[in-house]
């Protein structure tokens, strides 16, 4: 019996090959565009999280502050709830780091009468405060301290980046919604045409006593197959594009772009997309069957 359903579904698909090819193409394209978007979005999000973890506040200390003063301040800061870790960097350490960086040109530093670099506290934030608001709140608390000469923090780009991510998210949802509707529309149109093409057969099926489920099942199988195949095809193409992008565009420019890692969709995300195709196929079929194939 299952064999019969699939035979029927295949017959439907064969009956109008161009129509079905166009449907499949449209579904594939929809999923492909969504997939490209998803890959960009997820990578950008990953990058954002990665950068977020590097957010830190540096408090440069006045030269006059004593060792006890530094310890006291360090303890105080450690108790702030935004703070995960505080590390002291002495004037000497700062100078040594600078020397490291100027390797081969240390001579530049030779003539200095004294170490001009300040000591500093490097403060790392807890993950939940690694955003511009968290940074600002911490900075407010530190600003009044007499031991602190200057503060350095880079929150502005974080702000811009998270705004960009939000935009991406809204855009993605909007686009996703549109493609969702378009895919349902395309599938339901194809199924409707197939119902009309087979109306004689359907009439005879009714006369000889085929159940409603039996009459509808091939159409559902067809719709589900189209949705599923469209999503899978899109995934395959997406993967090919991704590979092409990785090897031809990303790898040569890797160092220039900051060497951040790029990822393809995870197995779960791919499975979700394929299942999404299946679900859209089901929905699209339901629209037409519900309207044109009342049994």
């Amino acid at each position: 019996m299952g064999g019969y359903f699939f035979r029927q579904a295949r017959q439907n698909l064969n009956q109008n090959p161009w129509m079905n090819a166009i449907t499949l193409g449209t579904i594939t394209l929809s999923f492909l565009i969504l997939g490209v978007f998803l890959v960009i979005f997820l990578n950008a999000k990953g990058l954002m999280e990665e950068w977020g973890s590097r957010i830190r506040v540096t408090a440069y200390l006045t030269d006059s502050v004593s060792n006890e003063g530094i310890n006291r301040l360090q303890e105080k800061i450690r108790d702030f709830r935004e703070v995960r870790e505080v590390r002291y960097r002495s004037k000497d350490e700062a100078l040594k780091a600078l020397e490291e960086r100027l390797k081969g040109r240390q001579g530049l530093l030779k003539g200095l009468p004294r170490n001009p670099l300040p000591g500093s506290l490097e403060i790392q934030l807890k993950p939940e405060y690694q955003n511009s608001l968290g940074v600002q709140r911490l900075v407010e608390k530190l600003r009044g301290a007499p031991e602190v000469e200057d503060l350095q923090f880079g929150a502005e780009w974080v702000e811009r980046f998270s705004a960009f991510m939000e935009l991406l998210e809204v855009l993605g949802l909007g686009l996703g919604g549109l493609f969702f509707l378009a895919t349902i529309f395309v599938i339901s149109s194809t199924i409707r045409l197939n119902i009309f093409a087979r109306r004689e057969e359907i009439e005879i099926m009714r006369f000889v006593g085929a159940t409603g489920l039996f009459i509808r099942a091939p159409f559902y199988i067809e719709g589900i197959l189209q949705g599923f195949m469209g999503a899978c095809l899109a995934l395959a193409m997406l993967f090919a594009f991704f590979q092409l992008f990785s090897t031809k565009v990303y790898d040569p420019l890797k160092d220039l772009l900051g060497n951040f890692p790029v990822h393809f969709l995870t197995m779960e995300q791919m499975a979700a997309m394929a299942l999404g195709g299946l679900a859209l196929g089901l929905l699209g079929t339901q629209v037409s069957v519900g309207r044109y194939l009342r049994v």
């Binding site: 019969y4 057969e201 005879i204 000889v208």
Partner: protein, 227 residues
Amino acid sequence: MIEMVHVNKAYDASPQALSDITLEVEKGKFVYLIGPSGAGKTTLLKLLYAADRPTKGEIRVNGFDVVRLKSREIPYLRRSLGVVFQGYKLLSHRTAFENVAFALEVLGGRRREVLKKTTQALHLVGLERKGNCLPSQLSAGEQQRVAIARAIVNEPLLILADEPTGNIDLGATEEIMRLFDEINFRGATVVLATHNDRLPLMLPKERIVLERGRMVENTMFKPPVFG
């Protein structure tokens, strides 16, 4: 087999398509449903296979209470009967064999059984050699015989035929009528609607005559008993 009690059917365009029809057809009978076109023959048949519902009255077919039948139960009523139409209603892109087999396939029949029963039905209608022909390659009489084979392939208790000889010449009509007689002889009840009064002369059987939605003659008449 068939019982109708005070059945009325009204359409917007024809408020008295059928009025107050009460009749009974016993198992194994062969009955003509005679009347000019528009008398209500097709409407009456449609009510019997639940393609339409009566406005009023009770209908019982093969043990099914047709008036109260739920939509999803209709297929089971239809499996207990076979319908033959004037226009054959064959699938043009399928062979004679496939057309007959289709009726079994859509009921979920096993392949082997479908093959066996289809061959038998085509044999009965004398078309075993034309199984591979498309309907367009068959004469009108042959096409109707394929449709009859499809109606009987499931071995129904009741055959409903709506003007089965309407498109067919006299020679082929005789053959079709012999076929219905044979099917009836093998045990199926036959109700055959026609506007052609010569058919009962060709093959004398019981008659119900309809005129403008009313029953004006019933050779089987006896007081109705329902339920």
